[in-house]
Structures are given as C-alpha cells and as structure tokens.
C-alpha cells in the first residue's frame, strides 16, 4: 500500500469556480484543476516564489511541489489548446489563513478577506497587533526552565549555561519546560 498523501496547505483559495472558453460551445468535458494545483501556479507564477519556498508554504517536499506544479501546467495547457473549460475542484488540501495576535486584549484572530489590509484588532480595535506564528510560541517554551521537584519556573538567562541552572529553593537541576512531561523528577542529595 502506498504512503498516504501529505495534506497540502492552501493559503489563498480561488474565489470563483473556474474558467470557460469564449465563442465555442462547451461540448468537451472540463479539465479539473485541484486546489493544490491552483495554489502551486499562484505561488510560482503570480507571487514569483521559487519552488523551495513555495513547497515550504504548502508544507510539502520540494519534489512533491514540482510534481504538483508540473501537473497543473499540463492541465492548463490542455485546456487552452483543446478549448476545454477549467473547474477548480478537490485535492488533498486544507485552507489556512494567517493568524494575528492583539497585544492589547490578548486575543488571536485570522483574516479571511485577504484583499484588505489588517490594521486593527478585530475585537478591541487596537492597532497594536502582530502576525502570530507557531515558531514564536515554541521559542517561548524553550526559554522557560522548570524545577522538576517543586515546579518553580525560571526564565533562562542567556549568560548562564542551562545545564548548570539550579532551583533557588530546593537546589535541583532545572530542566526545560517543554520536556517535563517525558522526564521523571531527578532528586539531588543535599
């Protein structure tokens, strides 16, 4: 059995259903262009991103992206030459939009109307907003150290090596907060 297809991320789905040729009767079956193929053309030929960058945006490997793109171009060429209609349909995709965080009220919000610029928080209308990414959250966890014995938390000091960080209360070696769940508390003798 082949490996299941990785689910492709589509950040900007088309807001119309497809194209049809002018001046001829639609007697031929339409060409079905998947959403992932539309996205591949959009990233490469409209936003002028390289294959490596576009692949990262769609969360697939670079060869997979190139394969999607190749298939998309062939379908578009086929529709052009044969005078077939194009419909956007299907594909193993999910739709995602960027998330923003408001520094004023602490809420997260996304922005489905992509043609408009994001200027203020959707909830409290504050202009103190920034784009939120998962990487940012991961970094925050890495910077916090926790004592496995008493649970005290401490923010990592850049100047101190992390393996020498000791809990001020019970003198335990502190560990990174994110990995606490898979480590048992280490008791040190005093």
């Amino acid at each position: 059995m082949p490996r299941p297809k990785r689910i492709r991320k589509v950040t900007n789905p088309p807001h119309f259903k497809g194209f049809k040729p002018m001046g001829i009767l639609p007697d031929k079956p339409p060409v079905v262009l998947n959403y992932e193929e539309y996205e591949a053309i959009r990233l490469n030929d409209f936003e002028l991103k390289g294959h490596v960058e576009a692949a990262m945006i769609m969360e697939v490997s670079r060869p997979t992206y190139t394969r999607i793109y190749e298939s998309a171009r062939r379908k578009v060429a086929m529709a052009f030459v044969n005078g077939q209609a194009i419909v956007f349909e299907g594909g193993k995709v999910y739709f995602d939009s960027e998330w923003y965080r408001c520094n004023n009220c602490g809420c997260f919000f996304n922005h489905p109307q992509k043609d408009q610029e994001v200027t203020h928080c959707a909830l409290c209308h504050s202009t103190d907003i920034r784009i939120f990414s998962d990487k940012e959250e991961e970094k925050q966890i890495e910077d916090i150290y926790i004592c496995p014995c008493c649970g005290q938390e401490k923010i990592h000091d850049e100047n101190n090596p992390c393996n020498e960080e000791l809990c001020p209360d019970c003198n335990c070696k502190m560990i990174r907060k994110g990995i606490l769940s898979n480590k048992r508390p280490i008791e040190t003798k005093i």
Partner: protein, 107 residues
Amino acid sequence: MKVAITSTGNSPDSMIDSRFGRCSYFVIYDTENQSTEYIPNPNRDSIEGAGPASVELVASKGVTKVISGEFGAKVKSIFDQLQVQLIMINSQDKSISDIIQLLNNQH
C-alpha cells in the same frame, strides 16, 4: 455586522464558552442595532460532527465574525471558505457583556 459569541449561559453576565462546536449557547450580536439573540446549541451533546453542524447554524444567521475560545481543524477550514473571521480568546473569565463592550470600542 453580526457577530457570534459562544456562551455558557443565556444572559449577558454568563462567561464565554471555550469550545465552539459544543458550547451551550450562541449569542448573535448585531453591531448595527445592538440587539442580542440567544440560541441554545442543539449539537451540545452530539458525539460526532458538532463543529460543522454548529458552523451551519451560525452561518445561517449571516454572521461575519465568530468569537470563541478555540476552534477545531474542520471548523477553521469551513469558516475560511465562508470568509468568516475567527477570533480566539484565551482567558475564560470574560463575560458576554465584556466582549460586547470591547466590540463597541471602535469609532
């Protein structure tokens, strides 16, 4: 513009519900005439598919913003297609009237 807020009760003092699909009530707030409507969620105890069913209910009211604590993966993609804006609030100690007040802050 209509805004949907997930709520734990049917009064302005009730707290925001942190789940979307299985919240107790939906509050539909109209920013134009400041009216509120409380709709009990029929999908509250469903085992499967509560999210998409709730999306359908909320979308039928014509809302453009939805405020809740969290949204599932299925819900996010449907709302994205419907061009509905999602707002996540992490703190659970905000009441419906607090949120309505925040929404009215503009202008």
